[in-house]
């Protein structure tokens, strides 16, 4: 059998699927666009929250800690990918591979210890007591008349 024929045999259901999917979406959106009602008043554009009026802005502040923890999680989670790929071929790689892998694990653990040490894993940035003391100190600095400090 010629390669070109093989290709058409493999590919036509995919094209049919693509056309069907696009057609379905077009029909659904198009019909509701043509047949659906319009209301452009102010209340009509509000999000429907089970009858309760939405309050406040959607842009609230999140703690940047989420981001940090997520990054650290991804970092150490991805390490498992490397462990698996090493484990499959561990016998073929032999002792050289084992040494290389131990080096990798050592460096990674070192990174973990470092992240722990600098407090990247603590949920609150500093001990609350220390934070209070700092606040008091900065208040004092702001309120003190300048002649006393100089």
């Amino acid at each position: 059998m010629e390669p070109a024929v093989q290709h058409t045999v493999v590919i036509w259901p995919l094209i049919l699927f693509l056309v069907a999917a696009l057609g379905l979406v077009t029909v659904m959106l198009g019909l509701s666009y043509v047949l659906g009602g319009r209301h452009d008043n102010r209340l009509g554009n509000q999000p429907y929250e089970s009858g309760i009026k939405p309050t406040g802005s959607a842009r609230t502040k999140f703690s940047a800690k989420f981001y940090l923890v997520a990054i650290i999680f991804v970092l150490f989670d991805l390490e498992i990918v490397f462990i698996f790929s090493w484990a499959i071929s561990a016998r073929d790689l032999g002792w050289v591979g084992y040494e290389a892998f131990l080096t990798f694990l050592f460096d990674l653990t070192l990174g973990f210890a470092y992240a722990w040490k600098i407090g990247a894993l603590d949920w609150s940035p500093r001990a609350p007591r220390q934070l209070r003391l700092d606040a008091i100190e900065s208040n004092q600095q702001r309120n003190l008349p300048s002649e006393q400090t100089s």
Binding site: D107, L110, G111, A113, Y114, K117
Partner: protein
């Protein structure tokens, strides 16, 4: 087993840097001590430099299929290590007023230098990519290191996002080349029809995409827009590192790729590179004319200098590699000096860097030696005789003329003519009357004397190499022979 030890010996300099990085991590996990961290970084880099020099008689060592340690590699390892040491010396006084963690900077610096060393020795796409990322990723952190200054954070973001896009281009280009040739080693990238055949469209597209990524890192003209912004925002020692180590490593790699990969021997590709070179030197110099910020000015001037360098790739003359080695060494020495002065005047850290040209007005009357060093660096960047910049420019011109590329020769001459204006303007400003509102450059004590000594040494070397360049030329010639053969 004997062969393994031989390979470890060949890779000793980067291994020493890697060990010092690991040592720094262990130290930081136990205790925070800035002096100790600094001493470990500088010690590790110095040991690596000694090892690099000691490896010279060893001859080419193939370290796994990924790396080759020949004299060309050793030459650029030396340049990278010296430049990194100078950056560390500038960073110490610069960071002395920075009220946050200061120690991590040296880890990032050493890791980035490690990536640069890997890049220079690479002869395989795997080591190329690992090296380029190990060079770039610590740099994102370094550019944004003084993140409380808005400009630094902004520069970090810009560099990170654009660099990521460039890496994507690089990977796509590698994938296309792998698809077309079935190999990742530079020397096996042969057109399908044999050595003398024309490269097919897939291969040209692949090498073109790789060229996009590498010219982005070298900030050549269509991809230069990030350079002035990042240089301006980055802390002065980091801008120094970007302008010297990063550029040297990527250019050394580009040259090795062009010399050893057969598919780069393509007339269309070489013309493209020539156009990039011409555009870089003209546009870089023209945009530098009206800059009032010294860091931006140096950024644009680095675009032009990389443009001059790129002409050697087009020429492909026997002298090309030697010319690149000489030009890069002189350019690195001069840039280190110029950025070092900016860094010293900016430190101790207080808000934005004092890079505006007004801060340098009349610097001569406050810090005479620093101002004279700066003046020497400007002369060298402009390529005035008796400085080492002249030797480099002489090489570039002789290479372009030897291969009959008269349009590029003309470009270099016109570019240098334009550049004279702004280099001499900076020089003149150093000796003008000092305005009342200029920020006082001051000695901050710790480490500042070291950084000053480095600047003085660089100024002295600029003059010495300009008068007696024979040792540098001999070293570069050997580097050229080992790569060319």
């Amino acid at each position: 087993m004997n062969d393994t030890w031989f390979q470890i010996l060949g890779a000793l300099p980067p291994l020493l840097v890697a060990l010092s990085v690991i040592g720094l991590f262990v130290t930081l996990c136990i205790a925070r001590h800035e002096r100790l961290v600094y001493a470990m970084t500088v010690g590790g880099l110095n040991l690596a430099l000694v090892a690099t020099i000691a490896l010279i008689p060893l001859g080419p060592v193939a370290v796994t299929p990924l790396y080759i340690v020949d004299f060309y590699t050793l030459f650029f390892w030396g340049v990278i290590l010296v430049a990194t040491l100078a950056c560390a010396a500038f960073a110490m006084p610069y960071l002395s007023g920075f009220n946050d963690r200061r120690e991590e900077f040296y880890i990032l610096l050493a890791t980035s230098a490690l990536g640069a060393m890997s890049l220079v020795a690479a002869r395989h796409f795997g080591s190329l990519f690992v090296g380029l990322e190990a060079l770039s990723i610590p740099l994102y952190g370094m550019v944004a290191y003084t993140f409380r200054t808005r400009a630094s954070l902004e520069a970090g973001f810009k560099y990170m996002i654009l660099s990521g896009v460039a890496s994507a281009f690089l990977l796509f280009g590698m994938a296309l080349l792998y698809g077309a040739t079935g190999s990742l080693a530079f020397t096996n990238l042969i057109p399908a029809g044999g050595y003398d055949a024309d490269a097919g469209p897939w291969m040209l597209m692949g090498i073109g995409m790789m060229l996009v990524a590498l010219t982005f890192k070298l900030s050549l003209v269509p991809f230069h827009v990030w350079t002035p912004d990042v240089y301006e925002g980055a802390p002065a020692p980091v801008a120094t590192f970007l302008a010297t180590v990063s550029k040297t490593a990527v250019f050394a790699l580009l040259l090795r790729l062009f010399v050893s990969a057969p598919i780069t021997d393509n007339a269309w590709l070489l013309t493209l590179v020539g156009v990039l070179a011409l555009a870089s030197m003209l546009i870089g110099n023209l945009l530098a004319l009206r800059q009032d910020n010294l860091k931006r000015l140096l950024g644009y001037s680095s675009i032009a200098h990389l443009g001059y360098l790129l002409t050697t790739l087009v020429a492909g003359a026997s002298l090309s590699i030697e010319a690149v080695a000489v030009y890069l060494a002189t350019y690195v020495g001069t840039s280190l000096g110029a950025f070092g002065v900016v860094s010293l005047v900016s430190s101790p850290f207080a808000g934005k860097d004092a890079a505006h040209i007004d801060h340098f007005r009349g610097l001569y009357y406050k810090r005479p030696v620093l101002a004279v060093s700066m003046a020497i660096m400007m002369l060298s960047l402009a390529g005035i005789p008796l400085t080492m910049g002249f030797i480099g420019k002489f090489y570039i011109l002789s290479v372009t003329m030897a291969s009959g590329l008269w349009w590029l020769t003309g470009g270099v001459i016109v570019g240098s003519g334009i550049a004279l204006f702004y280099y001499l303007r900076v020089m003149a400003i150093l000796f003008m009357d000092r305005p009342a509102h200029a920020r006082e450059p001051q000695l901050s004590g710790t480490g500042d004397n070291w950084a000053q000594t480095v600047v003085w040494l660089l100024a002295a070397a600029t003059i010495l190499m300009g008068i007696y360049p024979a040792p540098l030329i001999d070293l570069a010639a050997v580097a050229g022979i080992t790569l060319g053969s």
